[in-house]
């Protein structure tokens, strides 16, 4: 599969995520859109890792392990995402306890 397809796909997902972050006001949905962005990145990384593997194989290196690092990076991103989610949701819940809303438009107390 040409790498372009994958670039296009994951950029599309990434952009949808960004648009979501910019247009939605519910903190939880914003957070989910961020997760979507991370997943788009993951997909792209895997595709690239397979592309590099393909290149190595084409260069007659059949036993190549090229591209392993890309997949491991994805693994680390998942690890980080998990940690981030636990903290993020804790923050959102804490916020909810105080103001009973998760609308980011309420986040304007600091402006004054």
């Amino acid at each position: 599969m040409p790498i372009n397809y994958y670039i296009l796909l994951s950029l599309a997902l990434f952009t949808i995520g960004i648009v979501g972050v910019l247009t939605r006001r519910n903190a939880i949905i914003i957070f989910m859109c961020i997760e979507l962005m991370l997943n788009a990145v993951n997909l792209l990384l895997v595709a690239f890792s397979k592309m590099h593997l393909n290149a190595a194989i084409l260069a007659n290196d059949a036993a190549s392990t090229a591209g392993t690092d890309g997949q491991l990076f994805v693994f680390f991103i998942m690890v980080v995402a998990a940690a981030e989610v636990s903290v993020g949701l804790a923050i959102i819940v804490m916020m909810y306890r105080n103001i009973h809303s998760v609308d980011v438009n309420f986040l304007n107390r600091l402006k004054h």
Partner: protein, 175 residues
């Protein structure tokens, strides 16, 4: 068109469609469910790319753990009502247009990537690098230091949950 291309197309359409639904759904619970569908579609892509380990981990971590937490929080807060007030339509449109422009720019910038060259093809259904054995070997040799360090991340997330979640004693006294 062979089966692989068919699958690729289906999964891509599914992924993008459900991502769009995620962004446009009014009800947060639907958003969560659509996001889960997206994750499954992406996992499907991983399987196509023969990155089996990531496919499974993606489901376990994202769909199985992270999204459960999301759903959990949403249910706890009882956000099923469409609490999000109607936003300015123009603003929404502006957001969409901005996103579209961003996409266009990025794609236009990247369209030069030569798709004819054989090196620029992602290898489908082949290559053993995505198997758990190879990844594990690499993870515990070359990447063992970052692996160990990432435990710090979890420890701090754990402390975070304690710090943020624990009830304050003074707080209770005040109420």
């Amino acid at each position: 068109m062979n089966i692989i291309e068919l699958l690729f197309g289906t999964l891509s359409v599914l992924a993008i469609f459900s991502a769009l639904m995620l962004v446009t759904s009014k009800n947060p619970v639907y958003s969560v469910l659509w996001l889960i569908v997206t994750f499954f579609a992406i996992s499907g892509h991983y399987i196509l790319l023969n990155a089996q380990f990531l496919a499974i981990v993606n489901i376990i971590v994202y769909a199985g753990a992270i999204m459960v937490l999301f759903l959990f929080v949403i249910m706890l807060m009882n956000l099923n009502k469409e609490t999000e007030p109607q936003k300015n339509r123009w603003l929404k449109l502006a957001g969409a247009v901005a996103g579209g422009c961003l996409l266009l720019v990025l794609v236009a910038a990247l369209k030069d990537v030569d798709s004819k060259k054989p090196e620029n093809f992602a290898l489908l259904n082949g290559g053993n690098t995505g198997l758990i054995k190879n990844l594990g070997k690499e993870l515990f040799t070359t990447y063992v230091v970052p692996f160990e360090i990432s435990s710090v991340l979890f420890l701090s997330a754990m402390i975070g949950a304690v710090v943020l979640g624990k009830k304050e004693k003074q707080n209770e006294a005040a109420h």
